[in-house]
């Protein structure tokens, strides 16, 4: 009884430090891996193949984390996450092209471009989210699936040119920029004439900022409300938590992050096709999330990194590449779902917390 006054305070600190510790470990992993890779790249110890994958890995890890916010934390299935990436890629890249003369610093241009990409993706998220998230059931999956396809066909038919007279814009009608200008989006040819300004540093930073946003969101009252909706909507309403508000908030944040990642992705290449952001890409990101574990943010990053690298590493076995990829996916899924393996994992975990448990048991006996 003596220290009962102090108990809540120390519990509060231990509680905060526990989740914060886990989050900081994830931040630490990202930073350490980034530094190691950067050193290896500088030392010339990394093959071209892997070096080319560094930015895509960061981008897809960001995509997976943001989709996990929608699927794992909010509990709403989205099948068109690549659509938001696409919106961010095209709007961000156009913005960056327009800023080229005005803002000489490529880093600043990239940041502004990503912000613009995020805003447009968020607007798309709001437009889809407001009507659909009011409904219960799998409507979001169906509508996001359609959204991804619509966005893809829109961007294969958009023409945007930039010349001394300004920005020219057209849908369906092929246009040409004046002699002194250039086409930024050229219909089916996609984004053209990008001067890639994405860097590994900026991509890793994007992932880190995404993680901070998502972790801080989850560990706030807003994140709790979002998870409450996932677990029990009627109960959530009964304690005064509005369903549409928090569903929309999580969905739009998820879309905005995907938009920023899309801009980064586009700025890594000199051309970019709209078909790059198709249904297959959406499903690929969903595979990262499911394989890494629903609601498990660190798992999403690891799955995205491994599964983005894997096809490249498997290039040496050429014809068997996709076969090997499929087999590895299946093996991982078997491991993840096998009860005996899970039991062993649980045993390992319980050994870790054994001391805590005996402590608790003795408290229980006293009571």
């Amino acid at each position: 009884m003596k220290n009962s006054n102090n108990a809540p305070r120390s519990n509060f600190l231990s509680n905060i430090s526990k989740t914060t510790r886990s989050n900081f470990i994830t931040y630490g992993i990202i930073i350490v891996v980034y530094v190691i890779m950067q050193i290896l790249v500088n030392a010339g110890a990394v093959s071209n193949l892997i070096r080319g994958q560094l930015i895509p890995i960061c981008v897809f890890a960001t995509m997976a984390v943001s989709l996990n916010l929608c699927v794992g934390i909010l509990g709403e299935l989205s099948l068109g996450h690549a659509g938001f990436m696409s919106v961010g890629a095209f709007t961000g890249a156009v913005a960056i092209a327009c800023m080229e003369s005005a803002i000489p610093s490529p880093i600043l241009r990239l940041i502004l471009g990503m912000l613009i990409g995020a805003v447009f993706a968020a607007i798309a998220g709001v437009i889809i989210g407001i009507p659909v998230l009011k409904l219960n059931g799998d409507y979001l999956a169906i509508v996001t699936l359609a959204f991804g396809e619509i966005i893809r066909s829109i961007f294969t038919n958009v023409y945007v040119g930039l010349d001394s007279a300004g920005l020219h814009f057209s849908i369906l009608n092929r246009i040409k920029a004046a002699e002194d200008g250039k086409m930024i989006i050229n219909g089916a040819i996609g984004l053209t004439g990008i001067k890639p300004i994405a860097t590994f540093f900026m991509a890793a930073l994007l992932l880190l900022v995404t993680l901070i946003i998502v972790f801080n969101l989850i560990n706030s009252k807003t994140g709790r409300a979002v998870m409450a909706l996932r677990d029990n909507q009627i109960a959530a309403q009964s304690i005064g938590i509005s369903i549409p508000k928090f569903k929309l908030m999580a969905f739009v944040i998820s879309a905005a992050i995907a938009g920023a990642a899309g801009t980064m992705f586009a700025e890594n290449y000199s051309t970019m096709l709209a078909t790059k952001f198709d249904f297959n890409t959406s499903i690929l990101i969903l595979v990262f999330v499911v394989l890494g574990g629903l609601g498990n943010i660190r798992g999403s990053i690891i799955a995205a990194a491994v599964l983005t690298l894997l096809p490249e590493l498997l290039r040496s076995v050429k014809d068997y590449r996709m076969l090997a990829y499929a087999i590895i996916l299946i093996v991982v899924m078997i491991f993840k779902n096998s009860p005996s393996i899970q039991a062993k994992m649980a045993l390992m975990r319980s050994k870790k917390t054994a001391r805590k448990k005996t402590k608790k048991a003795s408290i229980g006996k006293e009571a």
């Binding site: 108990a7 809540p8 519990n11 509060f12 801080n216 706030s220 998870m227 409450a228 009964s238 938590i241």
Partner: protein, 278 residues
């Protein structure tokens, strides 16, 4: 236990004598709903005093849970009016009704199963925590202050049922009785004027039930709120409730003090009689 004196209240009901000069927390008039022709609840009239513990009993399928669902707008009533602390709730949805002052528990437990016990309670505190989403993401001082306060408040609330030690456990890992108690704590966290408990003692053993009875009284005294409960455990109902309404086939067949209800012939036939046969 001394019987509480129930006195007539102007609008067709009775409330405890101490509440009669206060505005009743709940006045439901001509409340009714039908589900595709089935009149699940009809002509439901009740007045609950400001600090009354009221009981709602009746055989299975009588419409008790439906009444709670009408009061909390899980279903929109087809007829009638609900005045909460004098305010008409016709245009309110579940969320607004909770903000206006009704909190509830569920017959089939509805916890946030993947969250901890503490987070379940903090969710009850959601609307009283004052920081914005952006302040949360940026971890501004108001975030730390809000989280600290809600943690302390959650722990205080868990103390009602001596559940502080369970704060870090996942809600779904709790035993059945503790889950029911957690639902009560979560509902209380929303700072209600009226607490609706749907079969709070279901699945509890007699000693747990006896303890619950004391806690219900204590909650009423400490929080100064009204409590309406649905329960099949007659010891609990008769022991803790001041006024009781009996529902059968969606209609109130009797209202009164526990002793009046126990001696009401129609009630005995409709409800207690059936219990004895079984």
């Amino acid at each position: 236990m001394s019987e509480v004196k129930m006195v007539p209240y102007p609008s067709r009901s009775i409330v405890p004598e101490r509440d009669v000069n206060e505005r009743p927390v709940l006045e439901a008039m001509h409340l009714g709903v039908n589900f595709g022709g089935l009149h699940a609840v009809e002509e439901f009239n009740i007045t609950v005093g400001k600090t009354e513990i009221a009981g709602l009993i009746g055989p299975n399928g009588a419409g008790k849970t439906t009444v709670f669902n009408l009061l909390t707008k899980v279903y929109q009533p087809t007829t009638g009016t609900i005045l909460l602390d004098g305010k008409d709730t016709s245009n309110m949805n579940s969320v607004a009704v909770n903000k206006a002052g009704i909190a509830r528990t569920f017959q089939n437990i509805r916890l946030f199963n993947n969250l901890t016990v503490e987070d379940n309670v903090k969710l009850g505190l959601h609307n009283s925590i004052k920081y914005t989403t952006l302040e949360g993401i940026l971890r501004m001082p108001r975030y730390w202050k809000g989280e600290k306060e809600s943690h302390e408040r959650a722990m205080d609330l868990l103390k009602i049922f001596d559940m502080q030690d369970m704060a870090k456990l996942k809600a779904s890992s709790l035993p059945y009785g503790a889950q029911r108690r957690l639902e009560i704590v979560r509902a209380l966290a929303t700072n209600p004027k009226l607490l609706l408990l749907d079969e709070p003692a279901a699945g509890m053993n007699p000693s747990e039930t006896a303890e619950l009875m004391n806690t219900i009284r204590q909650i009423r005294d400490d929080f100064g709120i009204a409590i309406m409960l649905i329960e099949h455990d007659m010891n609990l109902v008769m022991g803790v409730c001041e006024g009781i309404a009996v529902l059968n086939y969606g209609r109130i067949i009797a209202k009164g003090t526990p002793s009046e209800i126990q001696n009401n012939q129609e009630v005995i036939e409709a409800y207690l009689g059936k219990q004895k046969e079984a």
